[in-house]
Amino acid sequence: MAGRPRSFHLLRRKAVNAVMLSLTGLCTFIAAGTLVYILGYLFVHGAKSLNWDFFTKLPTPVGETGGGMANAILGSAKLLLLATVIGVPIGFMGGVYLAEFGGNTFAFIVRYVTDLLNGVPSIVIGIFAYTLIVLPQKHFSTLAGGIALSIMMIPIAIRSSEEFLRAVPLALREGAMALGASKSKAILTVVIPAAKNGIMTGIMLNLARVAGETAPLLFTSFGNRFWSPGWNQPTAALPEMIYNYAKAPYEDWHQQAWSAGFVLLTLILAVNIVARLILSRQAHVSR
């Protein structure tokens, strides 16, 4: 701005500008840097302690080295499978209801309650599963743990399914109808396949989130030093083992906790990255 008088006021404003903008850069650096530091530390430490025993052996008695978390890995897989089998269909079909038949008061109630359920702390869901399933059945079980996790999956499954179904262009639906399809046929054969990418990634992200949950498992799946057959016995799970081993004084257990954290985090992040890449590529394509 040639010709403008350079007042102190202007200089001060420019200084404030420079300072504040660089501060925001610093904030970003701190935020991103924390992640990099966390991941780096975990990967270095975790990878160092990782060995074949971890994946294949059962836990050894307290104080003895050389154990592994094979049963916890299988346990987590079973819990997540159960949670998906229960939570995803309910969430998905609820999402279909909201997207295709919504707009009335009941749909409003469903959305409100979904948000409510989403906000419930996971430990409270653990209490719920304990009073609902463990107490009447009189034992801890994979079933109880799986149900607790499925309750956590449902709200997100509904919301993401609804979102992706709504995103399907109206033209596709109307085209199907114009060809003579009934509403349900249109939904099943046209709308859902069109939204399938989004729905799958939604399920993946949901799964990744629930995979790391520990609190609901404390009073439901309970933990197991051995293999857990079937669905009615307590089972070990990766997050729960990490929790128990990290708090203990044994150095060997600490190493195993790092390894478990490394494995768990790698899986979760891998799923997250893949899911988001699929989503962003789809966003590009549809634009």
């Binding site: 404003r13 420019k14 500008n17 504040m20 925001t24 850069g25 904030c27 970003t28 701190i30 935020a31 992640l35 990099v36 966390i38 975990l42 309910i90 998905f92 079909m93 279909v96 209801y97 295709e100 707009g103 469903v110 309650v113 948000d115 409510l116 359920l117 989403n118 906000g119 419930v120 702390p121 430990i123 409270v124 869901i125 209490i127 609902l132 709200p155 509904i158 709504r166 109307e174 399809a181 509403k183 349900s184 990744a208 790391g212 949950e213 520990t214 609190a215 404390l218 009073f219 990490i242 929790y243 990290a246 600490h254 906790a257 954290g261 768990l264 985090l265 979760i268 992040l269 997250n272």
Partner: protein, 324 residues
């Protein structure tokens, strides 16, 4: 994008009613019924949850009434249960988390939305959103093995600069409300950044350009024009982050020190609602003890519902206003 509810276009020319079997084959009613059942089951589950919490906390509620929320004794032996130390610990650690998280989060959001080139902005946001995917128990492990030793080394400098306030006095053991607050801050920053950035990006460009045309600096246009426009959404993101931090269990349990007392200093250990439930639930002998813990769960539930509700309203109202 809102798909308007499509009218039930009949597969056959109108005027001829469909027989029951034909309608069944068409499947419309079945689909409607199945999805309706699924949607209702969610309402049923949530209702059952609230019901179970309420019923199973009856013994404690009848015994203590509203005084439960204001008593600070937690004495399982004497059968005296008061929620105050846990409410205090939960509130203090979350407040500390917000105190650290809001400036860092909003600052980073501003940088990512206003200043960074689009590729770097989305790349960094992607990275930061991955932080939100890290499970709580892993934050707890990192808290124990990395954060607490770091805090121990920084104890002296902190005490020298801030030791005149009652917040940083008294002995420091590593496990403390300070450690819990810092861990929570790291956990909620991604939420604040992610939502605030979107909300800021949604502010129409003409607002910025108008400000710049009037001679404002970049910062002034951001701070005095864009932020007020996005204010509700940013506040909404803060509320969401708060709701999340109130319910955080594992990371807090591992670093807070598990002491059911009220201390003024952040250096002191404390206890949060979620942490005490996690620690004591499986061993709570007797109905009163168990129902006291469940009543704590009810309190936490109520707290997070209220804050989540406020958050949703705020975020929704901004996105309606800001989106064009």
């Amino acid at each position: 994008m809102n798909a308007p509810t499509t009218t039930a276009i009949e597969a056959r020319p109108s005027g001829r009613a469909q027989s029951f079997r034909q309608r069944l084959r068409a499947g419309d009613d079945l689909t409607y019924l199945v999805t309706l059942i699924a949607a209702s089951s969610i309402v049923a589950i949530t209702g059952l949850l609230v019901y179970e919490l309420y019923i199973n906390s009856a013994a404690s509620r009848h015994q203590f009434g509203w005084a439960f929320l204001t008593t600070s004794t937690w004495d399982p032996v004497a059968g005296q249960f008061g929620a105050l130390p846990f409410i205090y610990g939960t509130v203090v650690t979350s407040a500390l988390a917000l105190f650290i998280g809001i400036p860092l989060g909003v600052g980073a959001a501003i940088f990512l939305a206003e200043l960074a080139p689009p590729k770097i902005s989305s790349g960094l946001t992607f990275l930061i959103e991955l932080l939100a995917a890290v499970p709580s128990v892993i934050f707890g492990v990192l808290g124990i093995f990395i954060l607490i030793p770091i805090l121990r080394t920084f104890e002296e400098p902190i005490r020298k600069t801030l030791g005149w306030t009652p917040l940083f006095q008294g002995p420091f053991y590593g496990v403390s409300m300070l450690a819990a607050g810092v861990v929570l801050a790291v956990m909620i920053i991604p939420f604040i950044i992610s939502i605030s950035r979107e909300v800021i990006l949604a502010v129409p460009n003409d607002q910025r350009e108008a400000a710049l045309a009037l001679g404002a600096t970049r910062w002034e246009s951001t701070w005095d024009v864009v932020i007020p426009f996005a204010y509700k959404g940013i506040t909404g993101s803060i509320f969401l982050a708060l709701a999340r931090s109130l319910g955080e269990t594992m990371a807090v349990t591992m670093v807070i020190g598990n002491d059911p007392k009220i201390h003024a200093s952040l250096f002191a250990p404390g206890y949060s609602i979620a942490a005490v439930i996690a620690n004591e639930f499986t061993e709570a002998t007797g109905d009163l003890y168990t129902s006291a813990l469940i009543e704590l769960g009810l309190v936490l539930f109520a707290l997070t519902i209220v804050i989540n509700g406020a958050a949703r309203i705020l975020v929704a109202s901004t996105s309606q206003k800001g989106g064009s």
